[in-house]
Symmetry: C2
């Protein structure tokens, strides 16, 4: 028997209308290349979004067309988010930090119709112009600041706004209509597109706002330092509007401690979100200048595990609580969130919990499985391939017909993790980096953490190398920092008592340099190639 409730479709148009109707005078503050202190209201913003949607239509864009952006976090990018998605078009954000070839691939694969770009990315697009096919470019600035350009069919953003009708009639959309597109920055193979539906984004916004997640309210001032060009800035541009929070956009100044601390203090920012290096940059600046940031209460950190030293300094010096979060492009992106832990717990227990990736929000489920797909216990010890399912998880990649899921409907994240009895998840490895020894798994990350803590070690990597008896065995690769003489046997002996005996690497080699990927991570793929014929010198008893 079916319920008798309205079948209202969940769309981002509802988010926009809610903010405009109930929080018309709430502020949006931006740093942009052409204005270091732009300020207006939700009402003005959504009026301009209507004008932009109308102008897009006049440019010949239709429902389903991909409208791309190469842009920083600011009010114009925010307008474009709503103008494209709420008119039935697809907001395709492109990460300008990718290699030019990847950007060209993405533009062509997405078949972008129009590209909106910040002035500073015009040369990048010019260099690609003979490789990509798009109908028009829009430079996100005003007439006075329009750069010279060799691009064909270039428009000025503010002229476009002026030409649009503020009474544009937003269409009624279906909640399963695509709203946005974002490509993964895959380390192997070509980037893959994730096509988000309105429904997934609206439910994800609800979940992201909960008190044990971003905890956003109308009295908050939120500064997203996570880029709007990747996974929709963790959905903050939608969540903030859904609750009427004030937004502060740092524009191109995302890693600039001076700008960030100035914005925090001038706009009374209460919450911010970014990757660990952002917090490091901010803390370094605050340390050097002695500046305080009293309005800031909490920050969200994701993208990679956050070192404890950052969490400690933020809390002890600035009374700012850092929450770790974990997610993926394929997850809109939120998976887990590390909510405030009880201060009744002993400090060491609090620290141990806060270093985990957190608990799943309601709406996403986690499980860990072994190589045969059997579910493993949630005991905090067993680790396996982390799989997810839920209201805002991918089903298949853009333009692919086959499902990206397991036969029983879960998405494999490519991470290896533990789950504890209280629901906390801890990433222990990437699936492709875990070492398979005698049918069991060894976490490369845990061994690296042990090695890098030793005096004299600048950097450490652990990879699995073929072994005649055990399939794979761990090989420890070290870059010395020169402060101390290091002996391989001494280093290997240091693992005893800290990890299971059979986890201890069979060999330790020293190298001048460890190869890195474009995003600064250790390139284990390169290391595995380099050491594929390694001759083992030590045996292991299991």
């Amino acid at each position: 028997m079916q319920g008798n409730m309205m079948q209202r479709q969940m769309t981002l148009t509802d988010v926009m209308r809610h903010a405009r109707t109930n929080y018309p005078n709430q502020e949006i503050v931006s740093v942009t290349a052409d204005n270091p202190a732009h300020r207006y209201t939700y009402k003005e913003s959504f009026t301009r979004a209507a004008q932009l949607a109308s102008a897009l239509e006049k440019l010949g864009a239709n429902a389903g067309d991909r409208i791309a952006s190469l842009a920083w976090n600011d009010y114009r990018h925010f307008e474009l988010y709503y103008a494209s998605s709420c008119s039935g078009m697809i907001c395709h954000t492109i990460n300008p930090r990718l290699f030019p070839e990847q950007i060209a691939f993405i533009i062509n694969h997405a078949e972008d119709k129009i590209i909106f770009t910040d002035s500073m990315f015009v040369p990048l697009l010019e260099a690609l112009s003979d490789k990509i096919k798009v109908e028009a470019f829009v430079v996100m600035t005003n007439k006075e600041n329009m750069p010279e350009s060799k691009l064909a069919n270039v428009h000025c953003y503010e002229d476009l706004i002026a030409s649009g009708d503020e009474n544009f009639s937003w269409p009624e959309l279906n909640e399963n209509d695509a709203a946005a597109l974002c490509y993964t920055s895959g380390t192997t193979g070509n980037p893959k597109g994730v096509l988000y539906s309105h429904r997934a984004m609206v439910i994800h916004s609800y979940a992201s706002l909960l008190p044990d997640v971003f905890d956003l309210s109308a009295t908050d001032v939120v500064m997203p330092i996570v880029p709007m060009f990747h996974v929709n800035a963790w959905s903050i541009p939608y969540g903030a509007a859904a609750v009427g929070a004030k937004i502060v956009f740092p524009g191109p100044k995302m890693a600039d401690g001076e700008t960030l601390s100035k914005l925090i203090n001038e706009e009374k920012v209460t919450i911010s979100a970014g990757v660990p290096t952002v917090w490091l940059a901010l803390l370094t600046y605050l340390r050097q200048t002695g500046i305080n940031i009293p309005s800031l209460q909490r920050v969200v950190s994701g993208g990679s595990a956050c070192p404890w030293s950052i969490m400690e300094e933020l809390e002890q010096k600035h009374d700012v609580y850092l929450h770790q979060a974990w997610g993926m492009t394929e997850m809109t992106p939120l998976g887990t969130y590390n909510a405030r832990v009880s201060t009744n717990l002993p400090p060491e227990k609090q620290k141990a919990l806060r270093l985990k990736q957190g608990k799943p929000s309601f709406g996403v489920e986690l499980r860990i499985v072994d190589e045969k797909g059997n579910e493993l216990p949630r005991d905090g010890v067993a680790f396996g391939a982390l799989q997810v399912r839920g209201y805002w998880i991918i089903e298949r990649y853009f333009k692919q017909t086959e499902s990206a899921l397991t036969a029983d409907g879960w998405f494999d994240t490519g991470d290896v993790a533990t789950l504890d009895p209280d629901g906390y998840m801890t990433i222990t490895d990437r699936t492709k980096d875990v070492i398979k020894s005698g049918g069991e798994w060894i976490s490369s990350i845990e061994l690296e953490n042990q090695a890098v803590a030793l005096d004299g070690v600048a950097e450490a990597a652990v990879i699995g190398v073929l072994h005649p008896k055990w399939d794979e065995r761990p090989l420890l690769i070290i870059v010395k920092d020169g402060s101390k003489e290091l002996e391989p046997n001494e280093i290997l002996a240091s693992f005893e008592g800290k990890v299971a005996k059979w986890w201890i690497p069979n060999d330790c080699v020293f190298v001048e340099e460890i190869p890195h990927t474009a995003t600064g991570k250790i390139s284990k793929k390169d290391l595995r190639e380099q050491f594929q014929n390694h001759q083992w010198t030590q045996e292991i008893e299991k």
Copy 2:
């Protein structure tokens, strides 16, 4: 173009599984008739819910069957909520405070298959037994406390649990499947059923949890004093599970200041929800005993407008913030919520805002319309019929084929309200009580509020009475408290300068008593009958 995300169905089963997996050891504490201090965990609760679902199946209940309850707020009722809804059956809560004839009507109209009842309602059901047709009764107690009963086919709840299989396999449900049924306590005509879908209840739960609404987190201890027998206790039993909050159920002791204050202090309750009379009872008890309730931070008040005196006393004496909320059975029930207002505002402005019904949560939209259905301005002055639409609003009543909505898809609430430019809604009247004078509307509630504030007035009602020139004119009806001589002309003169001149009632009459409805409200229907032939003594110039 459609998005490529998973089509996971939103169901209460997900809520249950989320709490069981991630908050297994969180507590649920209950007062019941057979145990004043029952305590267990979510894990135990949902294990018993599985046993109960299995036992229901053995009793012959199937998907779509209505499983009714006549019960207070406690852990067994909580188990029944999940056991019935998550097995595809429909959890039909019945308000035991209705007239017996209404209860019989509801049971028969719903075609309830099994009725779960607290021991104290057994006599009520016995008295109705020849008027209703159900297959079985279950008394929600253990063997030792089973009452003697003349009911046919009676089971003991704990025996049923013992007979069930804790490995019951929950079915995969569709989100549009019906999950629960609740009848309105209509003042006119027969009660009407609202059949909630899983989808509506899950989205409603998300919205109810937001920081500017109930603001529930895993560290909260929530005590719902709103009955689980009406509109699912404002969805707290679902919301609390979705975030892993501790729940405290007061059982039959819903209006008992002693029990409530004891539970607050012993269980460290942080948030509670109830109607204004509950807060009055609690405050009276605290005043008499000098007891404090330091753990309690905030309460939600709904059902009727809360007097300022209660809000003031809670805040000034106990540092408890009272939030007004407004909703309806047809709205699952949440419509608006009055979030914490800024303490930067002048006290009088804060008070004025807090006396409003609040702002809509994201997911529900409000509008006010005139008699022709034209939308009225959101200026805080114009008032009209309040209409709503959204993700958890009724489309039609149970067993009715025709829509309950306007031609353009809105539900008319039967309330008259203003909307201000910042989204705040204020109820000014019920549509059927508003006075239509010369084509314009006069708010009976506003006039009553003025009158009842006068010295010597015990109670006041204002109704519209036919008038040859103006269609209707307001008649003021007063019960004196005997403390002062009152003159009709003097009373009418007191309105001058406080309301528009044409709002001032044409007459004032004194009566010994004003008639009330079963739920304690002024019966305007009876007053209109009583005064239908009233002879006007005063004229009005408009």
